[in-house]
């Protein structure tokens, strides 16, 4: 099943490479390219993800996986009730999650709290990510989205998580989505751009594949599954399809793009399933915090509890870890 999919993709890529540079020349060429991508075998993708999810990771491998997962976490707080104090507390935890656990990859906050977060993590190596572009719905004008991005970058964000215009995408206006990503990428400057596809609203796996390619063609440094505000958020099959997309994109263009599943990943088991998926789909080039992130808030505590269980041999309890 997977072999045939591979062959299909390889054929597709070889016929496309020549024209990849100018697929965005017009709405029509972009549309032709995205609709020319091979369809996703829904049953096959679900089954493949489920099979990989049964892989058993124990003892030393599990200890390694937990530490790797911690170092990949984008510790996130995106609530209307966020305060500077809450963000500072979260940043402290991001830098020192507890015991000898490694620091997380980044903290992710709203643009107006970027300055607070940047101050709190300064010098620690933890990156500051900020959602922008009228997050989470993305329903605003391009000017507002660009200035939202510029605000976050000016406040010190290292990474920008933008949302695509799902309305435009679903109604087939791919060029609008493409141009928005290009404009936001330009506003990012040196900051990395993560493009949120919000797969829970894209309806089909075919659309997930198309949106992934669209974002990568437009210059995304990362593609991210979800905002975390829509259910279902990051599911294994969706992450699988996005990992296939970044793998095929690198084969076609030589440029590596990262993947970030976000939302709904709450347990160590979920996190380890995602790591298995990365290793088996994209390969271990992606198995570093530079190229794979886990967007989460409550996941970190579960990882720390499992870590403590491995260290002490007794089941850990949430009473002994910070509240999120």
């Amino acid at each position: 099943m997977e072999d045939t999919a591979l062959v299909g993709d390889a054929v597709m890529v070889s016929t496309m490479t020549t024209s990849l540079a100018d697929v965005a020349a017009s709405g029509a060429t972009l549309r032709a390219f995205l609709h020319g991508l091979p369809g996703v075998d829904r049953v096959g993708a679900d089954q493949r993800a489920a099979t990989l999810g049964t892989r058993s990771i124990k003892t030393t491998a599990k200890a390694k996986a937990i530490d790797l997962a911690i170092s990949m976490v984008d510790l996130t707080t995106l609530e209307g009730a966020d305060t500077a104090g809450k963000v500072r507390a979260m940043c402290t935890k991001a830098v020192r999650p507890g015991g000898d656990a490694p620091k997380v990859a980044a903290v992710c906050v709203y643009p107006d709290l970027v300055a607070v977060a940047a101050e709190a993590v300064r010098g620690s190596g933890v990156k500051v990510a900020s959602v922008a572009t009228a997050f989470p719905s993305g329903r605003s004008s391009l000017e507002v989205k660009v200035s939202d991005t510029a605000l976050a970058v000016a406040a010190g964000a290292d990474e920008i998580d933008m949302v695509i215009d799902r309305g435009a995408f679903l109604s087939g206006d791919y060029l609008k989505v493409f141009e928005e990503i290009v404009a936001v990428k330009a506003a990012c400057g040196d900051a990395h751009l993560k493009v949120i596809l919000e797969t829970g609203e894209l309806a089909t796996y075919d659309n997930v594949r198309r949106a992934s390619w669209l974002a990568m063609l437009a210059g995304a440094d990362f593609i991210k599954t979800s905002t975390g505000k829509v259910s279902p958020a990051a599911t294994l099959p969706v992450t699988l399809i996005m990992l296939e997309a970044v793998r095929d994109f690198r084969d076609a263009t030589g440029r590596q793009v990262g993947v970030k599943p976000a939302g709904g990943i709450r347990t160590t088991k979920d996190a380890i399933k995602h790591l298995v998926l990365v290793n088996e789909t994209a390969g271990d080039d992606w198995l570093t915090p530079e190229w794979f992130r886990l967007g989460a808030s409550s996941l970190l505590n579960d990882l720390l509890m499992q870590r403590q269980k491995l260290a002490t041999g007794r089941y850990a309890g949430p009473d002994y870890f910070t509240l999120d």
Binding site: G313, R314, Y315, A316, G317, P318, D319, Y320
Partner: protein, 285 residues
């Protein structure tokens, strides 16, 4: 034409559902004479972990319910048990707990025990709490609060003993994980069927069957368990090991005791798993 008898599969009771053991294991349960009765699930440490998660999840709702409501639900359990009197009596007689008559008496005593504890739900605070006289313009009130998740190793008496250790723990608002008697666990699972149909929220009582020596140490060491009732532990070494493990997060521990389950229970088992909260409130404001 004779019909095939439909035999019951004895499973675990975790979070209001009846799952098989995660490990897929089971063990044969026999009567004291050695006759085969049924296969019971042999729970693993991961089942124990899942049960603690379920108990923790149920705790806010159950401890937050009014004592009156908890009492009503315990009465309801007693009602449902009364309705299944014959079934329990037969099961107890089969597993060799005396004759038919003794078994019926044990079931009746169990129903009475539930009713007795149900009545305590809204009275324990009056008896065990206090309005303390203090040298200042304050009301000083002490009230008993449930301690949290309690792990119970049930005694050998399969029904009366089991209910006599579970009812006092849950009536005050705790939730529990019970390791049923190892040689005779079947009544515990049948009791779980009663609990599941008695408006008792899922996860308040979780029943595990299997090896005591395999499960008890994991529960004793679990950092998310707040109390440990070792009543059913006959092995002194195991009891010591559990007590030592329980010290890590200062669990409230009830040491193994020989008890006559037919005697008046007293309130000791309820108060063992209560914590006292004292509030100072200024007078005249």
């Amino acid at each position: 034409m004779s019909r095939l008898s439909v035999r019951k599969t004895y499973k675990l009771y975790i979070g209001g559902a009846f799952p098989r053991s995660e490990s897929g294991r089971s063990y044969p349960v026999t009567s004291p004479k050695g006759e085969f009765l049924a296969n019971a699930s042999r729970a693993s440490r991961k089942d124990a972990r899942d049960a603690v998660v379920a108990a923790r999840k149920a705790f806010p709702g159950w401890s937050g319910a009014t004592p009156y409501n908890r009492g009503q639900i315990l009465y309801r359990v007693a009602e449902m048990l009364e309705g299944r009197r014959a079934q329990f009596a037969e099961e107890l007689a089969q597993s060799g707990q005396g004759g038919k008559k003794a078994a019926l008496e044990a079931v009746d005593a169990t129903v009475d025990r539930l009713v007795w504890y149900a009545g305590w739900s809204d009275k324990i605070a009056s008896v065990h709490g206090a309005a303390n006289p203090v040298a200042g313009p304050y009301f000083n009130l002490s009230s008993p609060e449930p301690t949290g998740v309690v792990a119970i190793v049930a005694p050998a008496d399969p029904l009366l003993g089991l209910v006599s250790v579970v009812a006092p723990v849950i009536v005050t608002g705790n939730t529990c994980v019970v390791v049923a008697s190892e040689p005779s666990p079947l009544a515990a699972i049948t009791l779980a069927e009663v609990l599941a149909t008695s408006d008792l929220p899922g996860g308040v009582v979780n029943v595990l069957t299997g090896r005591q020596a395999e499960l008890a140490p994991w529960l004793a060491a679990h950092m998310d368990v707040n109390g440990l009732d070792l009543t059913g532990v006959a092995d002194a070494d195991l009891a010591l090991q559990c007590e030592q493990a329980a010290a890590e997060n200062l669990k409230r521990v009830l040491r193994p005791v020989q008890e006559d389950w037919t005697a008046d229970p007293g309130i000791g088992r309820m108060t063992r798993f209560l914590e006292t909260k004292t509030v100072w409130h200024p007078v005249g404001i």
